[in-house]
Symmetry: C2
Subunit: 353 residues, 2 copies
């Protein structure tokens, strides 16, 4: 008990010795093999394990046969409710499958993402899940293809979550939700309330997520017969600050030529609402505001935000399911979004125009 030597970690050999059995027997007991072991031996091993406070060395285990039970995930950041909601569900789904999660942040840099994947490749995880929108250049496709193949070569699956898929010949799974449909539904909702001029504070013009939402916006504007004024579309960043600045700038320029704002996401909506408030405009009495993501700001903001719900929870679960399924029947899963109506949308001031 009072052995203050160089505290070496107990190995399976120590267990075997202490239990007076062979290492093979100890291993069979500990690894849950279906090779028959007598109860007497089993008990002896268990007793030794408890006594020595033994835990297996996951690396040695990974080296000899069995694949390490790990799922890896990469996103641009964690402190953003969009990412952390997905991360949460990945972690939970992984736990249900008896897996641990490795996590790394690319900070939105393509090269960093590449480096991280290379690092993760060394871990031979079950799968690597890449989360979040991207800038879909040719260079991106090339990079992704390379990543997919290199992961496949070490036996890890690649799962793309919320970003576009690759050529079907490339070994990659895709879980996404329909950004265009969600935007379409929201614009339809605004139209049904009587809005004719809806300002879309879009995201980054090069980002797939932002562009898909723009596509849905445009389609709905056309289908619902709204004003298709191109000046009602403004690109910017996915942030509270950007929403605030763009709204404020527009208001200060005297261009109050819209009755509703469709924000690229809830953060942008939050910023827009603040700017409107400072300009003395009431939401939704004077201007309606709609967001996207159904994430953290949407309930804190006043009034509570009408927004598009993204099934973050299902996304994580689905990604993990695809990552671990023996024979995934589908390689691409698109989840549905739906709008959640709260209190930030009302008919325009003068009634339907």
């Amino acid at each position: 008990m009072a052995d203050h030597g160089p505290a070496r970690r107990a190995t399976i050999r120590d267990v075997a010795a202490s239990a007076e059995v062979s290492v093979a027997t100890a291993s069979r007991v500990l690894s849950g093999s279906d090779y028959p072991v007598s109860n007497r031996m089993r008990a002896k091993v268990m007793r030794a394990v408890a006594e020595l406070d033994y835990v297996a060395n996951a690396h040695a285990r990974a080296l000899s046969g069995s694949r390490p039970k790990v799922i890896a995930m990469v996103s641009a950041a964690m402190h953003s409710s969009f990412y952390s909601d997905i991360a949460q569900s990945v972690v939970e789904a992984a736990a249900e499958h008896d897996r641990l999660c490795m996590y790394a942040s690319s900070r939105g840099h393509a090269e960093t993402e590449l480096e991280i994947v290379s690092l993760l490749r060394e871990q031979s995880a079950d799968a690597v899940i890449l989360v979040g929108g991207v800038v879909p250049t040719a260079e991106y496709t090339a990079r992704m293809t390379r990543i997919a193949e290199s992961l496949a070569s070490v036996g890890s699956r690649l799962v793309l979550c919320g970003r576009p898929g690759l050529d079907p010949s490339i070994p990659a799974y895709v879980v996404s939700y329909d950004n265009a449909d969600g935007a379409y539904a929201m614009i339809s909702h605004l139209a049904s309330r009587g809005h004719r001029r809806v300002l879309h504070l879009a995201g980054d013009e090069t980002n797939t997520t932002a562009m898909d939402r723009v596509v849905g916006y445009r389609r709905a504007v056309a289908d619902c017969g709204l004003d298709a004024d191109p000046s009602l579309l403004e690109y910017g960043r996915f942030s509270r600050e950007s929403g605030y600045q763009r709204t404020r700038a527009r208001l200060e320029a005297g261009r109050r030529d819209f009755t509703a704002i469709f924000a690229a996401d809830d953060l942008v909506a939050s910023g827009a609402i603040r700017a409107l408030g400072e300009a003395g405009l009431r939401v939704p009495a004077d201007i309606s505001v709609a967001g996207y993501n159904d994430s953290d700001p949407s309930l804190d903001v006043t009034p509570p935000l009408t927004t598009v719900h993204i099934p973050a929870d299902q996304m994580g679960r689905t990604a993990v399911r695809l990552a671990l399924a023996d024979n995934p029947s589908e390689t691409v899963v698109t989840l549905g979004t739906h709008i959640v109506v709260r209190q930030s949308v009302a008919p325009p001031p003068g009634g339907p125009s």
Copy 2:
């Protein structure tokens, strides 16, 4: 190129063979050893690596000598800006030290936490970081002590983040921030604005974080000469819903006997603000509200929340620093908090009473 055999992963032996050198030489090149290797050999190895798209097997590497470069982290959840802010900074700090992060969620269950730590112990990570407040029973202390010792026995450090430390004889590091001081500062601030009756919507009565804030609240109430009415202290949960319900119930019961609310955290504050709004009370004109954490809701809420800033960023960095330092000079680090004044606090309606 067109070898569609059972795609075995390239090993260092393959690299050595392809480069026509010994495995020792290949290893020395790849592991960045300081053993001298001629440039010619080095080049040959690098070429072979590129050709075979070789990556080392992290497990084999971990098995022979070098410790795997991994930091583990456990918290109750991820989708909560308090946890995800810390997670973010841990991940970033880890990346700077060339480490990957393993992440697991205990869902707030003590037994789950125990199981997870046992799983993590197998990974022989550099350190295991446990984040978040706890219920400090005797059973907890016993459990923690056991965890600390078992982690030490496999060479992993234990870092407690935002939760109480253990007996100094136990091998564990602690990074925390001063909850009592933050609460004290906020109450002083409210007092200086003229408030005499401050309602504290506290957290869970058994939780260390909640209780420390109550301690600071009580101390400040006494020191600043505020009304020490025990009915101005209400326990509950750390959630938007709880803040809403408690505020609403109190208002409906006609007990509007306070001029300011000090919420257990920003979520509670967000709920309280909503309830106040629904009751026709303006913030801060009629009632002032202060939060804690300086997390997501604080900027979305109207008006922006005066709150206590927790150095989430520093916490993660510090935890990682303690986890990896050769000879940490300190075993306990307490970080300072400070209040950030926004617009949710004003003097009480009638002016200082």
